[in-house]
């Protein structure tokens, strides 16, 4: 197990390094002269050079890269070129929206997908099983923004139960914050569930045909008991991997949902900063998201080793 963890950690650090170089080169490389981009059209060469010097942009790329990484490691994510705000502060403020949104969306998706997918697998070949498969298929085809708009129309406009969009901050009213999150979480969760149901269904179907499930029944478990006690634990193995992969999907989903419901989340902040050509803000925020996604994948790998003794032994 120790070797397994060490290998995964080495892979984790390697992936982070490659990702950071890629982000740095893509953003700097694509933007041309950063100072010129920041000042926009009509700026004099003198002004551009002055700004470039102020931010250290006239130094060699390698020096700038290591400077950036060094600062990131010490917790300094840089400052906005325009407003001089700290990126760390900008991000933290947005996380109180984005983290509850993404996390609750994922949890809701799983809470729906695991029982429904298991039910669909148990009832494969029956009308109810086929209906569930069809509904989840439709769910997969529905774009996240459309689901959001429909929910917003129904619960916000028609019934007037919940706000159609906008944000009440936690500090103003925790209840208001929760109310602003209900519809976004619901849209995100339903779409996640539609995708996950299919994976749960096929994982459970696969497990149902395994000999060890028959053995569990042969020594006294009922069909349902064997599925819940022996089957789900084994079905969890492929699902953990899928959930890890869905995290990236989830972040993509939050970009859309935050826009549809006008939530001041991290994704929307990033979009705004891309438009405003805030190079360092975008660069550091993207890196943060990458760190998050790769960390989740590391956790998934470690969890996999914990759940499956065969992985510990062989890899």
């Amino acid at each position: 197990m120790a070797i397994y963890i060490l290998r995964k950690l080495a892979f984790f650090l390697g992936a982070l390094f490659i990702a950071s170089v890629a982000i740095f080169l893509l953003i700097r490389g694509a933007g041309g002269n950063v100072a010129a981009v920041v000042l926009g059209k009509g700026a004099t060469p003198e002004a551009i050079n002055a700004l470039a010097h102020t931010y250290g942009l006239d130094r060699p790329m390698a020096v700038q890269y290591f400077d950036w990484i060094g600062n990131m490691l010490s917790g300094d994510l840089g400052r906005s070129f325009r407003t001089n705000e700290s990126v760390a502060d900008l991000v933290t403020a947005r996380l109180s929206v984005s983290i509850p949104l993404a996390f609750s969306g994922l949890v809701l998706g799983l809470l729906i997908a695991i029982p429904v997918g298991t039910y669909a697998a148990r009832n494969v070949g029956t009308p109810s099983g086929a209906l569930l498969a069809l509904v989840s298929q439709i769910g997969v085809a529905v774009p996240v923004f459309w689901a959001g708009i429909l929910l917003s129309l129904l619960f916000g406009v028609r019934l007037g139960w919940l706000p159609t969009g906008g944000w009440t901050d936690w500090s103003v009213s925790p209840w208001g914050a929760i109310r602003s999150l209900v519809l976004p979480v619901l849209s995100l969760g339903l779409i996640m569930a539609a995708v996950l149901i299919r994976y749960v269904r096929s994982a459970v179907l696969d497990v149902m045909n395994q000999d060890y499930l028959r053995t569990a029944r042969a020594v006294g478990m009922t069909r349902t008991e064997a599925l819940l006690k022996v089957g789900l634990r084994n079905a969890a193995l492929p699902l953990v991997t899928i959930v890890g992969l869905q995290i990236a999907e989830l972040i993509g989903g939050t970009v859309i949902i935050e826009t549809v419901f006008s939530l001041p989340g991290l994704s929307r902040m990033m979009l705004a900063n891309v438009a405003a050509r805030e190079v360092i803000v975008v660069q550091s925020t993207v890196m943060l998201i990458v760190v998050f996604v790769i960390s989740i994948n590391l956790i998934v790998d470690l969890l996999y080793g914990l759940l499956d003794p065969r992985v510990r032994a062989t890899r």
């Binding site: 070949g125 395994q210 000999d211 060890y212 028959r214 053995t215 569990a216 029944r217 042969a218 020594v219 006294g220 478990m221 009922t222 069909r223 008991e225 022996v230 634990r233 084994n234 193995l237 759940l307 499956d308 003794p309 065969r310 032994a313």
Partner: protein, 328 residues
């Protein structure tokens, strides 16, 4: 039913929407008796076993009656059956690696069976599991408790499966080709453990295999299946010495012995001509007639049934019968 019988099977039919794989089986196994069930792949042996256990794969259904421990297993609900499985009737499967839960400790898998069916505490169940492992001659039984199935050998895994099936002293054990997935070198060892354990408990045994010497060594009676029916049954020694059905004789003749194996390639090992007919297009009359040298007009149209007596066979022209008058 009389309590002396471990199982009474009457007109057992196993089918799905398209096929009938087991076509009317009748046999009775007295308590403690050991019966071999032989036949080629596809003859319905495994589906018969699964039907007795109430573990048929999805889509398959059993009809007829299976009396065991005072009830008809066919009519029982999954819940009612589950309280018997592993306690009064249990099964050893073919492939021990795929049949054990890969993510749970072996000790837990076996001791949970004991806890389920008895009042034993966790500690007591674990102690009895270690005892079982010891009875199965498994090395270092205490350490084995915390091992995973992939960490031990195939022979050890199958002995674990046997320990699991025997944990609660069942009246009947069904072993479905328990050594097919094992190395030849450990087959004998595993069978010996199974044999001893079954005898110590006084359990009845149904041994499914196509390995005839195993049947000869372990069973009192044998039933030969062909295309979903029993074509011959009787005491093992008599059936093997003087088979009455031509299929049984064919099976016996195709067993390798030191006499009929020639290493220079000029093998004298006999084989039954033709193939087992697919279930969806069984021939009329006796299902074996296209492959039978003794087949006549009658065999092509009329279905033979098992005749009476201790040496039953379903054949219009059984081997060793007196030649019909009109021909003589």
């Amino acid at each position: 039913m009389s309590q002396e019988n471990a199982i009474e099977v009457r007109n057992l039919v196993v089918h799905n929407t398209a096929l009938t794989a087991v076509r009317g089986l009748d046999f009775t196994l007295p308590a403690g008796a050991r019966m071999g069930l032989v036949g080629e792949s596809g003859s319905g042996k495994t589906l018969t076993a699964l039907a007795l256990m109430g573990l048929l794969p999805m889509g398959w259904q059993a009809n007829g009656s299976v009396r065991h421990d005072g009830v008809d297993l066919i009519t029982q609900s999954d819940r009612a059956l589950s309280s018997r499985r592993g306690r009064t009737i249990s099964m050893v499967f073919q492939d021990p690696l795929s049949s054990l839960d890969p993510v749970r400790h072996i000790g837990q898998q076996v001791s949970s069976v004991i806890r389920r069916h008895t009042q034993a505490s966790k500690k007591e169940a674990e102690r009895r599991t270690v005892d079982l492992f010891r009875q199965m001659s498994l090395p270092r039984p205490e350490q084995l408790m915390r091992a995973y199935p992939h960490e031990i050998s195939g022979g050890q895994r199958q002995r674990i499966m046997i320990a699991m099936a025997l944990a609660c002293y069942p009246q009947l054990i069904i072993a479905d080709e328990p050594t097919t997935a094992l190395d030849v070198t450990v087959q004998k060892q595993v069978l010996r453990r199974l044999n001893t354990a079954v005898q110590e408990r006084g359990s009845a045994l149904i041994m499914i295999t196509h390995d005839l010497p195993i049947i000869a060594a372990m069973c009192d009676t044998v039933a030969v299946m062909y295309a979903g029916k029993i074509v011959e049954m009787g005491p093992v020694a008599e059936v093997f010495r003087n088979p009455r059905h031509h299929y049984t004789k064919g099976l016996l003749d195709s067993q390798p012995t030191m006499d009929n194996i020639a290493l220079d390639g000029s093998s004298r090992l006999a084989s039954i001509p033709g193939m087992v007919p697919p279930l969806h297009s069984l021939p009329a009359g006796c299902a074996f007639h296209p492959r039978c040298a003794a087949a006549t007009e009658q065999c092509m149209s009329e279905v033979p049934t098992l005749d009476d007596g201790p040496r039953r066979a379903a054949c219009w022209h059984p081997i060793g019968a007196t030649v019909p008058m009109e021909v003589a």
